[in-house]
């Protein structure tokens, strides 16, 4: 497809704009796109990502309040609306208090991951290490089931069962 502006180079940037229900398409080459100030965004700014995701959440009801916005963190007094407003959380416990609402955002920001698999502080108690291993195995198991890799899923299930047994002791 040719660029609509220079009519010579290959169009590699395709814009679709929907305004008042009318859909218009524009096809440009990189150079003309740049000249027209239509550069492809290299990344979504974090704040934009946050507010887009959180605003896409449950809508407020007629009274202007949703059930979730009533939840107040007992440790820092934060609500989800305050997080929306400030784009940062009030305290570490917010990850538990607002877990349900934060989870989609965490998934989106980290390419689907919801479990830590990096460094573990050395001063963390041994049983917590164990808990982390179990959480990781559980995530791997969920991934395997989603991908329908049942052979791997069976192995992970056995491993998980072994781990949980030692945990119970």
């Amino acid at each position: 497809m040719q660029c609509e502006v220079c009519q010579s180079r290959e169009a590699t940037i395709h814009l679709t704009e929907i305004s008042d229900g009318v859909r218009t398409e524009t096809h440009l080459c990189e150079q003309c796109a740049r000249e027209q100030g239509v550069a492809a965004k290299s990344y979504i700014p974090l704040n934009e990502l946050l507010s887009n995701l959180l605003n896409a959440g449950p809508k407020e009801d007629a009274a202007g309040k949703s059930a979730e916005s009533d939840t107040v963190c007992p440790h820092c007094g934060y609500t989800l609306n305050k997080f929306r407003d400030k784009a940062v959380l009030g305290c570490p416990y917010d990850y538990e208090v607002f877990e349900k609402e934060l989870l989609p955002l965490i998934k989106k920001a980290h390419d689907g991951s919801t479990v830590h698999s990096g460094k573990i502080p050395s001063r963390m108690p041994r049983d917590k290490h164990k808990q982390m291993q179990i959480a990781r195995l559980q995530q791997q198991l969920d991934d395997a089931v989603r991908k329908e890799d049942y052979e791997l899923a069976a192995k992970l299930r056995d491993k998980l069962a072994g781990n949980q047994k030692t945990e119970d002791r």
């Binding site: 290299s42 990344y43 479990v115 001063r123």
Partner: protein, 374 residues
């Protein structure tokens, strides 16, 4: 320590040395950490922030980093000095112009900074010249261990290191490289690089981080995903997959310039030299833009053996004030030095007082002229 003790020189990580130094200017790894038992900063009172600051300052000043460390009370530091620290990449814009009690512990050789009370209680960073991400990570990991022996971090078995913003959750690690990509820009391929970076889930920012443009063809490339992947995997993906590819891409663009557009390249370098050697007023943006072409010419001479008339002339320019011999000693370090020392806050701090923009432009032009005319 007075900042003027360091402001007259470039820092170690900007010396143009280091692996793949013709494209990868520097490597940086930073960690975001919060103390267990405290709220995140947005919910802290001033008294709580002061307590966190005091605790972390005491710990950090007591660490053995193999270099002298100094402390800067950022909230009590004059604006010009804060701007200087940002230009130097020692603190972030956010930290320089934030609110409340906050500080920075900095190693004198500038390879290490700890920002206290930035967005998180603690932001550690290690910087090195060229492509040295693994070395940066190993060093910052050791420093992180030393701190953790003395104080507990907010950590969850499920989510890892807990950060004020969920986008840093997990490892809290941000790995970044500063790249100089003038040939990709000149050949019109930079958008492809930006799109490729985006599709790999990476962020691209300008010279001074978030919200800044790519002045001087410098781009900072960093990871965005911090959860579900280990620090070592993030670093190794950068070192083994991402960086070699970009370096190759820039090298191909440089080869192409030389083979097919040597006249254009030659003209850009000639023009840059002519302006830099003769201008009486030069803005910071223009200096970055022109010096970028000079840096490209020198690197192409050194690494590609390029020798167009303008590059030959360029190589016989200037005086470094270092080796004996007078002429013909312009080096990448000289150009990097001009990049950094002609930034607005550097100029003013070294001059000893604040200057309006016309005076800054005149001083900048003078410094560049004297370096290039020898």
């Amino acid at each position: 320590m007075k900042l003027t003790e360091i402001s007259g020189n470039i820092n170690e990580w900007f010396n143009g040395e280091g692996p793949l130094g013709d494209v990868v200017v520097s490597s940086r790894v930073r960690l975001a950490r919060n103390l267990a038992g405290y709220k995140f900063l947005a919910a802290c009172t001033v008294a709580e922030k002061s307590e966190i600051l005091r605790k972390l300052k005491d710990i950090l000043m007591g660490l053995n980093l193999g270099d002298e460390v100094f402390y800067i009370g950022v909230d009590k530091t004059p604006v010009l000095e804060r701007r200087f620290l940002v230009e130097r990449h020692l603190i972030s814009q956010h930290h320089a112009f934030g609110k409340g009690p906050r500080g920075a512990v900095i190693a004198r050789r500038e390879f290490f900074t700890a920002m206290i009370n930035e967005e998180d209680h603690l932001r550690l960073q290690v910087l090195k010249a060229g492509c040295q991400l693994r070395e940066c990570f190993e060093q910052i990991d050791r420093i992180d261990d030393m701190i953790e022996e003395r104080i507990g971090y907010a950590f969850s078995p499920k989510y890892g290191y807990l950060t004020a913003c969920p986008t840093n959750l997990g490892t809290g690690v941000r790995v970044s490289v500063m790249l100089h990509l003038p040939a990709l820009k000149m050949t019109g391929h930079i958008e492809k690089f930006l799109n490729a970076a985006k599709s790999l889930g990476l962020a691209v920012r300008g010279l001074f981080g978030e919200g800044t443009d790519a002045a001087g063809d410098f781009y900072q490339l960093s990871n965005q995903i911090t959860l579900g992947v280990s620090e070592k995997d993030i670093v190794s993906r950068f070192e083994k997959a991402i960086i070699p590819e970009i370096v190759e891409y820039e090298h191909v663009a440089r080869d192409r310039l030389l083979a097919k557009e040597a006249g254009v390249l030659d003209d850009k370098i000639s023009r840059a030299m002519a302006l830099l050697k003769n201008a009486n007023l030069i803005s910071s943006q223009e200096a970055l833009f022109l010096l970028s072409h000079i840096r490209l010419g020198l690197n192409m001479h050194k690494h590609q053996g390029a020798s167009t008339p303008a590059i030959e002339q360029l190589c016989s320019l200037g005086s470094d004030g270092g080796d004996a011999g007078g002429k013909g000693r312009i080096s990448i370090a000289t150009v990097n030095r001009l990049f950094m020392l002609t930034l607005p806050a550097h100029l003013q701090l070294n001059y000893g007082k604040e200057l309006d923009s016309t005076h800054r432009d005149a001083l900048r032009a003078k410094i560049i002229r004297s370096a290039l005319n020898g």
